[in-house]
Amino acid sequence: MKSLLPVLTVVGAILLFWIVSVVPMNMHLTADQAQREGLVVSPDTPAVRQEYSGIGLTLQNPGLMVRTYTLERPRLPSPHQVAGELWNTIALQNVTSRRSLVYHGWVTLSATLLGFAIGTGLGILLAVGIVYNRAMDMSVMPWAIASQTIPILALAPMIIVMLGSIGIQGLFPKAVISAYLSFFPVVVGMVKGLRSPDAMQMDLLRTYYASPAQAFWKLRLPASVPYLFASLKIGISASLVGAIVAELPTGARAGFGARMLVGDQYGQPLVTWAALFAAAITAAALVGFFSLMERWTLRRMGMQAA
């Protein structure tokens, strides 16, 4: 809880910057609307106003500042508008309704969790293979690194279309993309973790004439747990990004990604922003959950959390 004050300070600074930015960002739209409603705006034609920057126009029309915060379709929504939209779509809707962000959140989250489980499992298996098999040690890591250099935005539609053509649709293709993004940090972390016991530790087990399986279960695996948690925290957020990206290019009708796309296409910035914030909150909650798990596990194992 020591970090609460610094975190709040940063959040406050961002919020202040946001609130201040709303005025110049929305001033042109506000001026146009005010003029349509018969208010005096200077300069008095949209074409001339375009010559002005947002700040310049604000200085010409200080009286319009308040109105920049309440536009129906702002260029930059104000914090209270986003908060209001979040409240409307989370608390005031039935969770099974298509207007509910809880519904869309669950669509994305289920793909995230499935993909994360697949990615983590795959990552651990690959790491074990890399540590125990020389051929895999030489070959897998370069491919794993190469896989992460391909823009996921280019790859996602291909995967979805290909899986779709063999009749696999819905949750699974999105989970594949989540897995694709989340296996990598797990491989890297687990290889490091499984190799963390030093030569002396391995020699000690040799003096007991321990089998390779015993060395794995009694030494390598427990030694890798702190590394695994570091990877899981990166992996789960990568997984959520993967699920959202998978929803963007394919015309998905549900999920955070779909909401962001709908907001963009139909000129409803509030919808986009609310989805964006809901996704960020979900990511924070997931990472927070794994942080708690990490603390709990390491404490139970007798190792103090780093």
């Binding site: 002396m200 530790q201 020699d203 000690l204 087990l205 040799r206 003096t207 007991y208 004439y209 321990a210 015993q214 009694k218 030494l219 427990p222 030694a223 747990v225 194992m301 007798g302 190792m303 103090q304």
Partner: protein, 260 residues
């Protein structure tokens, strides 16, 4: 009863191939260790004392000569779990309690649950750590951790105990105390102990046989059978015999350096 030979090395050689050419870690090492001996290996770094201990343990393979442990090859002796090995660092698993750490070899060797408990209690008592079973390593001092690692090496009752500078990282006061305890432990368990050190007083105080080694190539320059009695209070280190042996060890160490 004739003394039984536990460890016997004949013309032992070990050469490491390195980028700068071959390194003679051990050259023509001959040594016989009798059951119940406390043997110290002393010498400057690079003299092969640790390498020799690792050869006994079957952790290194000699490139020439023969070595037997309890009449077997070191590899067979390792399979038969003929020795316990204590490293310079305690190397306890941070995720296991002290009891859990001592239990590690017992789990690997397949002792029954009841026997594990019984043995853990017995060896922790032996190293004066009774009551610390449920503590985690970080809750113990360095000296206590090293005692726990000795308990771990004793848990499966091998009759040979190999110790590679086990107290090297500890301060002198703790070290004196642990040396005293080690002698008591040796007297009670009648194990054969191989002990690597670079401290002359430690070697003389502990050993029945002191093996002085020198580097480049690693070889034995002197083997001293200690005339000191088995019962050794700490102040024996001020006695005439003690000082004489220490002198001889120092001379042996110096002789090894003549060609430098």
């Amino acid at each position: 009863m004739a003394a039984e030979t536990t460890i016997c090395a004949r013309g032992l050689n070990l050469t490491f191939e390195t980028g700068d050419g071959p390194v003679h870690a051990l050259k023509d090492v001959n040594l016989e260790i009798t059951k119940g001996d406390f043997v110290s290996f002393i010498g400057p770094s690079g003299c092969g004392k640790t390498t020799f201990l690792r050869c006994i343990a079957g952790l290194e393979t000699p490139t020439g000569g023969t070595i037997t442990v309890n009449g077997m090859t070191p590899e067979e002796a390792r399979m038969a779990r003929a020795y316990g090995y204590v490293f310079q660092a305690a190397g306890l698993y941070p995720w296991r309690t002290i009891g859990g750490n001592v239990k590690l070899p017992l789990e690997i060797m397949g002792f029954s649950k009841a026997e594990q408990e019984e043995r853990v209690a017995r060896v922790l008592d032996l190293v004066d750590l009774a009551g610390f079973e449920k503590k985690f390593p970080w809750q113990l001092s360095g000296g206590m951790q090293q005692r726990a690692s000795i308990a771990r090496a004793l848990a499966f009752d091998a009759d040979i105990l190999l110790m590679d500078e086990p107290f090297g990282a500890l301060d002198e006061i703790v070290r004196d105390h642990l040396n005293e305890q080690l002698l008591q432990l040796w007297a009670r368990t009648e194990k054969t102990i191989g002990f690597v050190t670079h401290s002359i007083p430690e070697a003389v105080y502990l050993s029945t046989k002191i093996v002085v080694m020198s580097p480049r190539p690693g070889r034995i320059t002197d083997v001293i059978d200690s005339p000191l009695p088995k019962e050794r209070p700490l102040d024996i280190r001020d006695s005439k015999e003690f000082i004489e042996i220490a002198h001889r060890v120092r001379d042996g160490l110096r002789a090894g350096h003549v060609d430098d």
